[in-house]
Amino acid sequence: MIEVSDLNIRFGRGAAAIHAVRDASFSVAEGESYGIVGESGSGKSTILRALAGLIDAWTGTMTIDGHDLGLRRSKAARKLLQMVFQDPYGSLHPRRTVNDTLREPLSIHGFDAVDERIVRALTEVGLGREFRFRFPHQLSGGQRQRIAIARALILEPRVVLLDEPTSALDVSVQAEILNLLVRLRQVHGLTYLMVSHDLAVVGHLCSRIAVMNRGAIIEETSDEAMRTGAMRHAYTKQLWVASKGYDADALSAMVEFE
């Protein structure tokens, strides 16, 4: 479903240029849930944004469902792929009601039965009709994120890109949203590409996981390996150890990776 090969993204020019993504290649099968983990500056979010068509300058190839993605995206290409952002407080327009936010993609693409679709989208993410005309400031973080998910799904995409969808949420709300994401994927046969810095979240939601450091994918591991700690690369192992909590002894063994 998703094929990325030799993706290179640079920001800036000349001496100050940052090579944000270096020769990234991976593929995601249809219906699979693929994760990308890394620390800040690793380039994981940049890859997602490039796939979403938000980045102007990249080299390499990106293919979704057999269609090559170019710099300009057609409307049809937009329908295939949607995204859920990290910050529930920033991803909804503050002056638009939930109804406006959900209606817009439908009117951009000329869908019919707009009202039905909106109500159905709300129900699917577990929100009742009473939320339909609220403004974002009248919603909690978890509710906003559900709206963001509803918005992503209302165009019936095949692929959903998830950019740290639960990092800004409370732990109990995170559990609900993760459960929702798992259920929606099963029901609609979606393909997920999820980016996170949280190994536990990625290990829970994804079956195959790419580990990035400073722009390069250094290892592709699996949820099984996460469970037991059977990673190949020392960086991944270090990340795994660090995610388990504070451990003074383990810390003394940590090194800087270039």
Partner: protein, 285 residues
């Protein structure tokens, strides 16, 4: 241990006046802090941050603090006059916050900010303050302190910014440090390093540390004692190493709904909030 606790709080309430009525952020909690690492864990709105701020009377304008007792080393914090309070803040009780991007002055070099922190509470010449600042940069394990001294906050990474914040707050050698989500904005390996630094300084100087966080795992692995807060009250208090033996349904619920690296793919149990938890009177366990 029979040592007198550094901080003693009894029946602390923090209330805010809003156009919609009175909001009670902290509802009658008790706790003490000795020379140990105390973690206060809770979700957003639990009152954990407000508790930390109330100790230094840093609650924002429309808030009011009341307590039967709020004492630090025998000094009544609740009724202390401004002079006493200024002598304590940043000097005997320090506080570090979540994001160094916002807590460091963007138009001063980081070195001069550390030096300033020193000169507020100690009469010292500019060059002595500078030396002290350099020493602190070294103590927080920043390589090339002379180079870093001259940098501005936007030129340093998150982890380094937090170390600078720690340097600033520990330079007067306080007895208590309140850390409000000090590592939430950092990468996980950097988090570990900053915590190790805090650990080191707490041990070396016999400081008491209050660590406020939403991260249960972190607090459990780093602190000695843990207070779990919800709805402005303390739901449970226990030793960090006994966290997995927690009794209160809220704590159990929180622990269960965390995804685990070594967990299964099954649906995470969702936390069912029992309204009865809010009715619990006071934070006495």
């Amino acid at each position: 241990m029979s040592e007198k606790p550094l901080i003693e709080v009894e029946d602390l309430w923090v209330r805010f006046r809003t156009p919609k009525g009175v909001v009670e952020a902290v509802r009658g909690i008790d706790f003490t802090l000795g020379r140990e690492r105390l973690g206060i864990v809770g979700e957003s709105g639990s009152g954990k941050s407000q508790t930390g701020r109330a100790l230094l009377r840093l609650t924002s304008g429309n808030g009011s603090i009341s307590a039967k007792r709020m004492e630090f080393d025998g000094i009544d914090l609740l009724n202390a006059d401004k002079k006493t309070l200024y002598g304590i803040r940043g000097n005997r009780i320090s506080m570090i916050m979540q994001d160094p991007k916002y807590s460091l002055n963007p138009v001063m070099t980081v070195g001069s900010q550390i030096a300033e922190a020193y000169r507020i509470h100690a009469t010292a010449s500019a060059s002595k303050a500078r030396d002290k600042a350099m020493n602190m940069l070294d103590a927080v394990r920043i390589r090339e302190p002379e180079k870093v001294y001259k940098l501005y906050p936007h030129q340093v990474s998150g982890g380094m910014g937090q170390r600078i914040m720690i340097a600033m707050m520990l330079i007067p050698n306080p007895q208590v440090l309140i850390a409000d989500e000090p590592t939430s904005a950092l990468d996980v390996t950097v988090q570990m390093q900053v915590l190790a630094l805090l650990d080191d300084m707490v041990r070396k100087n016999g400081m008491g540390l209050i660590l406020v966080s939403h991260d249960l795992n972190l607090v459990a692995s780093f602190c000695d004692q843990v207070l779990v807060m919800y709805g402005g009250q303390i739901m449970e208090r226990l030793a960090a190493k006994d966290l997995h033996k927690a009794q209160h349904p809220y704590t159990r619920g929180l622990l269960n709904c965390l995804p685990r690296v070594d967990g299964s793919h099954e649906a995470l149990p969702v936390l069912e909030r029992d309204p009865a938890w809010l009715e619990q009177q006071g934070g006495r366990s």
